[in-house]
């Protein structure tokens, strides 16, 4: 396993630069070892053990079998060859021991009758052979000495003409004859190599099966862990009611039950927090109702008031409005947290929808531009929630940007592509949002540091968080970037899934739900 380019990483850390992914090389390593080089995972360990076990067992069995077969074969071959050689030698002796024999001819004839070819007979210092294959020269000197000089029966394995043969030498001293017979081992060797081949095949198959069983066992062993990891991911993703299926296995049961206990505790806690926020905002509504209605009554009599009371009333009116906005946002956010939001989806013609949303926002006169193609875009959305999104972005632009904001409706796709997305962008002429604050700005009550300095204290910092939540529920994205025309200012962009109408009718397309 190769180490992942430590040099690149360390230099970058040392220089304190931005945390860029360290070079392509380390990525390549990660690609080869998806779990990065390091200790083997449980699954790999189990697989390794099974593989090695199967390999070891198969090898052991193969070698043992081979050894047994070979020794069996050898002893069998030894006894048959010795028997045959002695039988033939006996015959030779019988023929040669007859009285008037002077040549080896009778013995040769007898051997021929027996069908024995592979021999060499030395009679009175003279060699006779049946075939040219084996003869005097085929007999190794040591064997010759032992048999002929020492007159002892002997047996030897030797290579003759490139063949392995067993040579049995039998001395018949009374007849002045020495009988040598050659037994080829080729047949045995072929058998042995066949056996070896079969054993190799069997060992391979066994090892393969071992790997397979190992894979299955590893998968089985890791499954509870994988399930737990999936469940943990689901919980992290907000599905707090995710639980592991209880199991009878005593070892895994502990994991499942303690995991579920943890999830339940977490869920309880999160729900309690969410309920608290929700309860607080519910409690705030009653005094807010009273305040709001009373302020309206006072506002209707503003002209009858002294100047200082009027100034105080104006403050009261605007802050009651802000208070109401905050409580409404809090209620909406707590609905998100409780998972109680149910979108009321319908097909909306994007441009018409946006123009309507602008008309009821705090800047009804806002300039709205739309590309010809986006004019046709149909989105599936909850119109009241999306209108809130547009209103929040406009309020944000009015609060933090200078001058008149603009709203642009644009294609989310290149001209040659099929339409899949449409973009709504709100641009302002404010100071823009610094790169490092661009993600933070969508968090609850997060107000850009520069924004805080810039204006008084307008805007409560829930608006953009709500935009983010709403857009995510609509499977869209929201982000902030620099103005498209290069001037100073922020550009908030919403990207929503969209499509082109099948049959374009002027007006909103139909609804999708239960009734019409």
């Amino acid at each position: 396993m190769g180490p992942p380019t430590p040099t690149v990483e360390s230099t970058e850390r040392a220089s304190g630069g931005s945390p860029v992914v360290p070079a392509a090389e380390s990525k390549r390593w990660l690609w080869i070892f998806p779990h990065r080089p390091g200790p083997l995972g449980l699954r790999r360990r189990i697989l390794l053990i099974f593989t090695l076990g199967a390999l070891g067992l198969a090898t052991f069995l193969a070698f043992t079998t081979y050894g047994l077969v070979r020794s069996n074969l050898t002893s069998q071959r030894d006894s048959t060859s010795l028997n045959a050689a002695y039988r033939n030698a006996n015959q030779v002796r019988q023929e040669l021991s007859a009285t008037n024999v002077t040549t080896a001819q009778p013995a040769v004839e007898a051997l021929e009758r027996n069908g024995t070819d592979d021999y060499a007979l030395r009679y009175r210092g003279q060699f006779t052979t049946a075939t040219g294959d084996y003869g005097e020269r085929s007999i190794p000197a040591s064997l010759f000495t032992r048999v002929v000089a020492e007159e002892t029966d002997a047996r030897m394995i030797a290579d003759v003409n490139g063949e392995t043969v067993v040579i049995v030498g039998i001395s018949l001293p009374q007849e002045q004859a020495f009988y040598f017979e050659f037994f080829t081992l080729d047949e045995d060797n072929k058998t042995l190599s066949n056996v070896a081949l079969s054993l190799l095949l069997a060992a391979t198959i066994t090892t393969g099966l071992g790997v397979l069983v190992g894979v299955l066992a590893a998968r089985r062993a890791v499954r509870p862990v994988a399930d737990a990891s999936e469940a943990a991911k689901a919980i992290a993703g907000g599905r707090l009611d995710t639980r592991l299926t209880p199991t009878d296995d005593p070892d895994l049961g502990v994991l499942a039950s303690s995991f579920n206990d943890m999830a339940a505790a977490l869920q309880l806690r999160v729900e309690r927090d969410a309920r608290f926020a929700s309860d607080v905002s519910h409690e705030l509504r009653s005094p807010l109702m009273t305040l709001s209605a009373s302020v309206d009554v006072m506002e209707a009599r503003r002209d009858e008031m002294p100047e200082r009371a009027q100034a105080a009333l104006d403050l009261l009116v605007s802050d009651v409005a802000r208070f109401r906005g905050l409580v409404e946002d809090l209620l909406e956010i707590s609905r998100f947290d409780a998972g109680a939001i149910r979108l009321h989806l319908e097909d909306l013609q994007a441009s018409q929808f946006v123009r309507n949303a602008v008309a009821v926002s705090s800047a009804p006169g806002l300039a709205v531009s739309c590309t010809p193609r986006a004019e046709r875009a149909i989105i599936s959305g909850d119109r009241r929630r999306l209108a809130r999104v547009i209103a929040n972005l406009i309020d944000n632009a009015l609060a933090y940007g200078a001058g008149e904001p603009e709203l642009q409706i644009e294609d989310g796709n290149a001209p040659e592509e099929t339409m899949t997305h449409v973009k709504f962008a709100v641009e302002d002429h404010g100071p823009g949002v610094p790169v490092e604050e661009r993600a933070l700005i969508f968090e609850r009550f997060a107000r850009g540091a520069s924004a805080g300095r810039r204006s008084g204290s307008e805007g409560a910092g829930l608006g953009l968080a709500l935009v983010d939540e709403h857009i995510r529920l609509h499977d869209g994205r929201v982000w902030v970037e620099d103005r498209s025309d290069g001037e100073q200012g922020a550009r908030f962009v919403i990207e929503l899934p969209s499509r082109e109408p099948i049959d374009f009718v002027d007006g909103p397309a139909g609804h999708d739900e239960d009734v019409p």
């Binding site: 509504r285 109702m289 009273t290 109401r324 609905r335 008309a359 009821v360 119109r383 139909g510 019409p516």
Partner: protein
């Protein structure tokens, strides 16, 4: 005599503030702190509009709504604490004509009340009877006959039926009906239309599950036919 509004709200401060705000519109407001008090007040002195908070001690808002509906077609505005589908649909099905979610502005409330009080001018409807099969509208008298029998409709239901009847055969989208009947803009709540159509069907259709007159045109809206 001026318009009388019955405001049913258990929170005394809210009731007082809302009363003050509505009185500024020139209406006479009577407050009731509970459902029981509201029933009694309504029997003693029927109002032109009733404002009901759903969360009430004793008889709750839904029950109060049904009680009033048994004897009266008065426009009812529900006030819900939560913006969830269940409360709103339940309130509308109990007989409410419109709803508001707390916290609302008094301007919104008075706009809602004004819309409910507005009547369809007889001139607009003409003097003719409008006949759709066994369904007969007598605009001058504000009456509807189904198979010759008079059907009792609330003012909002009647207004909805008249809108559909005025343009014989025309398909109305939800937005159009929200605008014409409730005077809502593009962002009105379509559930108002859906629940009222359902209520209307239970009254004017022989078989509300298979409507013959008030029909749904899938993907477009609703239409009235013979």
């Amino acid at each position: 005599m001026g318009t009388r509004i019955l405001a049913v709200e258990d929170d005394e401060r809210i009731r007082e503030a809302v009363t003050l705000a509505l009185e500024d519109e020139g209406w006479t407001v009577e407050g009731a702190a509970s459902g029981e008090a509201a029933v009694e007040a309504f029997e003693r002195h029927p109002a032109d509009v009733v404002l009901i908070d759903i969360m009430l001690p004793g008889i709750d808002g839904f029950e109060l709504c049904r009680t009033i509906r048994r004897t009266s077609d008065v426009p009812i505005v529900m006030v819900t604490a939560r913006n969830d589908t269940h409360d709103i649909v339940a309130g509308l099905e109990a007989g409410a004509d419109d709803y508001l979610t707390k916290p609302f502005q008094s301007k919104e409330l008075s706009a809602r009340i004004r819309a409910l009080l507005r009547r369809i001018r007889p001139a607009q409807l003409g003097h003719e009877r409008l006949i759709f099969g066994d369904l007969e509208l007598i605009p001058e008298e504000g009456k509807v006959l189904q198979a010759g029998e008079e059907v009792h409709l609330t003012k909002t239901e009647f207004r909805l039926l008249c809108e559909l009847a005025l343009n014989r055969g025309k398909v109305f989208s939800r937005e159009e009906l929200l605008d014409r009947v409730w005077e809502y803009d593009y962002f009105g709540d379509g559930r108002l239309v859906d629940v009222h159509i359902r209520r209307l069907r239970t009254k004017v259709e022989a078989d509300p599950a298979n409507p013959r007159h008030v029909v749904t045109v899938r993907g477009l809206g609703y239409r009235l036919q013979a």
